[in-house]
Subunit: 139 residues, 3 copies
């Protein structure tokens, strides 16, 4: 059995979604795993993971607009505000999305659907370096 | 080590939850894995996965009602509307639930709690065929 | 390949977040796995998992306050109310967070980020015993 671990580093330019499908596919290729799973894990509490529509940019714009309204900055009852007005909303937006995703690998390929892409979802206003670990397990 | 991959196809009749616990259990049985994990992955961006109360239908009705109100159709600021008023809400509802779930397998059985069932959550109004991949890894 | 399964039992004192990072790390140590993954799975439909900021208690207070407002008790259209006013909100809060999380293991250590802790999120008002399964797979 093969266990192959690698990392991805994403330089974000502030709030938004950043596609990493190609990076994950490249790690699967390097792993030489034919059949198994690829676990993607983001090592942060103010950025998260989503598997999302990757064809039309407007689907991502609307998603970001919805989260901006659903978990607004400057929410009156927030106590955890020392790190800025975008900090506490970033933790909640992270909790509502994902920290880990596990994607099947078959015949050496990620088994994503036609419209699925893997994205880092940056919730902070300023640029950040986001670190992810990818673990490919299989035969 | 065993890596066993199989697929599930679910014909939905529009919005709602569709239980697949039996389908996943059958794949685990076929895999002959005694101890390990079963990864369930849905290959769509307008349908998702949940592990949910499977005893009382009203718990699922209330869940669906809550999502209908939380991510309403015809939201005024949505730009991604070409595929219908139920399309953009379906992407957001998918992001708020799950694309992958990993369930422990012990002594050949899924280690679900008493009230837990595995469901496909269809977010589109019309019937769709939803494809899932299940990967069982273990000894 | 090693497949090591163990359980964690958490006695909650009602609504709130309960850290289990140390329990999961201890299971990884016992497993003797060097490189692989640890799958954490909560066997309930009214409690869930989150990987969250573990440095400042106020970040967890604000999270809990947000969920209390977003999925309020005594929501007028809920039908599933026989088990108490905190029951139906607990199912929805569970669906919005996670049932399973998969954390990479490298050199025998969970690859969590600096601020990440693993928490059980109790959504019921009264104390409960919450059971989790941890499956460590790797070499």
């Amino acid at each position: 059995m093969i266990v192959y671990t690698d990392t991805i580093s994403v330089s974000t330019r502030g709030k938004g979604t950043y596609e990493i499908t190609g990076n994950v596919a490249e790690i699967v290729r390097k792993s030489t795993v034919t059949d198994g799973t690829a676990t993607v894990f983001v090592q942060h509490t103010s950025a998260s993971l989503i598997i999302y529509e990757n064809a039309d940019r407007t689907a991502r714009m609307d998603l970001e607009a919805w989260f901006d309204r659903m978990v607004p900055e400057n929410t009156s009852y927030f106590v955890h505000t020392l790190e800025g007005s975008d900090d506490m909303p970033s933790h909640i937006r992270m909790v509502l999305t994902r920290t880990s995703e596990v994607i099947p690998v078959l015949n050496g390929n990620l088994q994503l659907g036609t419209w699925q892409g893997i994205f880092v979802f940056e919730h902070r206003a300023r640029p950040h370096t986001r670190n992810l670990t990818v673990t490919v397990i299989g035969n």
